[in-house]
């Protein structure tokens, strides 16, 4: 255990170009998947929160269940879609970062949508009557609600990021763990574990944990700054 901490530090100290590439790729893929997840999930979640339509309850249950869909299943489904023998084979996205982003977006979107739905619905309970009285168009209502709940929504953001950056099932299958092309922190950890190099695997895990911690710290700082400034 202790040697893992030492390894983690010497890994960081040497700032190995290969390791840096792995960390950057992980961030690039997961942050893009987070962006896609927000762009699709937040409007969707907000829409479901304030709109009544038949099948709404069912949709909410489905959305909430999708938060827990195994990453491996998403990996296999996206693999079959992107395979040359599959319907999207022409795109040539299999074993590329693009394919990995697609797979992780499938993970982040429902999670962010489900959390957004709950948060916006609570905001709607407070402001709903006023907004209905103002007869705002729905897009304007959505914008106002999302803006009003922005601090609470940051938890959806962090959850989406955590889901993406920590998963290994989908990126392993869709990315193929190709050295210098699609190797992320989690697939590198899986690889070192299977080589029996447990200390190095643990060291990489600590680096991953550090990245997640840094992301959370930054969000927290931005949030408290913004709350003081605009809250």
């Amino acid at each position: 255990m202790l040697s893992a901490f030492n390894d983690a530090f010497s890994l960081l100290e040497s700032l190995d170009a290969n390791l840096l590439g792995i960390v950057l790729l992980s961030l690039q893929v997961s942050l893009t998947a987070l962006l896609v997840g927000c762009l699709l999930g937040m409007p969707l979640g907000a829409f479901i929160a304030i709109q009544n339509f038949p099948g709404r309850q069912g949709l909410i249950v489905v959305l909430n269940s999708l938060m827990g869909v195994p990453t491996v299943i998403v990996g296999v489904v996206i693999y079959l879609l992107l395979s040359r023998s599959g319907p999207l084979g022409e795109l040539n996205w299999l074993f590329t970062p693009k394919g990995m982003i697609l797979a992780q977006s499938v993970l982040t979107t429902p999670l962010i949508a489900a959390l957004t739905r709950q948060i916006i619905e609570d905001g709607w309970r407070i402001h709903g009557e006023t907004m209905s009285a103002l007869r705002l168009p729905i897009a304007a209502k959505l914008k106002w609600l999302v803006w009003d709940c922005r601090f609470s929504l940051s938890i959806a953001l962090l959850a989406g990021f955590a889901r993406a950056i920590s998963e290994v099932g989908a990126v392993m299958i869709v990315g193929g763990n190709i050295d210098r092309v699609t190797r992320t922190m989690t697939t590198a950890i899986a690889l070192e574990t299977s080589k029996g190099d447990l200390p190095l695997a643990l060291a990489l895990g600590l680096v991953l944990l550090g990245v997640v911690l840094l992301a959370n710290l930054m969000t927290s700082i931005i949030k408290s700054f913004a709350e003081r400034r605009y809250g």
Binding site: V29, L39, K195
Partner: protein, 272 residues
């Protein structure tokens, strides 16, 4: 909903995707291969030499032989390099490759606890397996349709032992060589491994090589170009360049010069 809003959203989404992977104008092929070749470090030794000579980048997807062949079958790789002759010949007869070319071999070893409770140590793999079975010592099987798994099942058959997961001493892990070795190390059990993976494996615990050198433990690797008539998008010229290089005297020497802990792990044997 507001049309401009939607437009902005979709533009951002497209932008997010398009920023990725613009830099790779380089020629490349996808090679699906086994974990043993990748994890032993052979490809790290071999591929830079090939890339330097031809400028073709080789992207390796390292999985079990069964899955590696399946990736080829679906047209997701240009070249397949695996070690299960029977499955490879089936791949050719199904028309997914025009021919199979032999490249190199390494060998399997029987790994087990140093104390060797089954007294399996020796030079005969089938006799050793009989002893493991009769003493009901824990045996870890890959159980994942890999080349190593296929070889293991052949040796059990040769030893005249019926194995199945219903026997408590026989455990199928359904995982790659490394994870299976981790399991064997944790349970202090017997396991069949390829030598290259064993040599690079670090979490050995109390395990050691017990049986080696039996000619039956010979493990042949073959390479195949995925058939362009089945999958027209296969990079035929670049894939063929890789195969031609790996069986050339230069490629074969590069294989021979790769050593793990001072030991040669792969022995080139392509027929000229």
């Amino acid at each position: 909903m507001n049309r401009r809003f939607i437009l902005k959203m979709s533009a951002l989404t497209v932008l997010a995707f398009s920023t990725i992977g613009l830099s790779h104008a380089q020629k490349s092929i996808t090679l699906s291969s086994t974990t043993s070749t990748e994890q032993s470090g052979l490809f790290k030794h071999l591929l830079p030499a090939f890339e330097k000579k031809t400028g073709i980048q080789v992207k390796v997807v390292a999985v079990g032989t069964g899955q590696a062949l399946d990736i080829g079958r679906r047209g997701d790789a240009d070249v397949v390099m695996v070690h299960d002759k029977v499955a490879e010949e089936k791949f050719v007869s199904e028309g997914f490759a025009e021919k199979r070319i032999e490249v190199m071999y390494n060998d399997f070893v029987l790994i087990g606890p140093k104390a060797d409770p089954a007294k399996a140590k020796g030079k005969d793999i089938q006799a050793a397996l009989q002893k493991v079975a009769s003493s009901k010592s824990t045996f870890i099987s890959r159980g994942d349709k890999s080349g190593t798994h296929a070889a293991e099942l052949r040796y059990w058959k040769g030893a005249g032992v019926e194995v199945s997961a219903t026997q408590t001493w026989y455990k199928e892990t359904g995982s790659g060589m490394g994870p299976a070795l981790n399991t064997a190390s944790g349970m202090n059990g017997y396991i069949l491994s390829d030598r290259a993976t064993w040599l690079t494996f670090k979490n050995r615990g109390d395990l050691a090589i017990l049986v080696e050198g039996d000619p039956r433990l010979f493990n042949q690797y073959g390479v195949m170009l995925v058939s362009p008539s089945k999958h027209p998008h296969v990079k035929k010229a670049d894939g063929q360049a890789f195969i031609d290089w790996i069986i050339s005297s230069e490629g074969q020497q590069t294989i021979a010069s790769y050593k793990v802990e001072g030991q040669q792990s792969f022995f080139p044997n392509a027929k000229k």
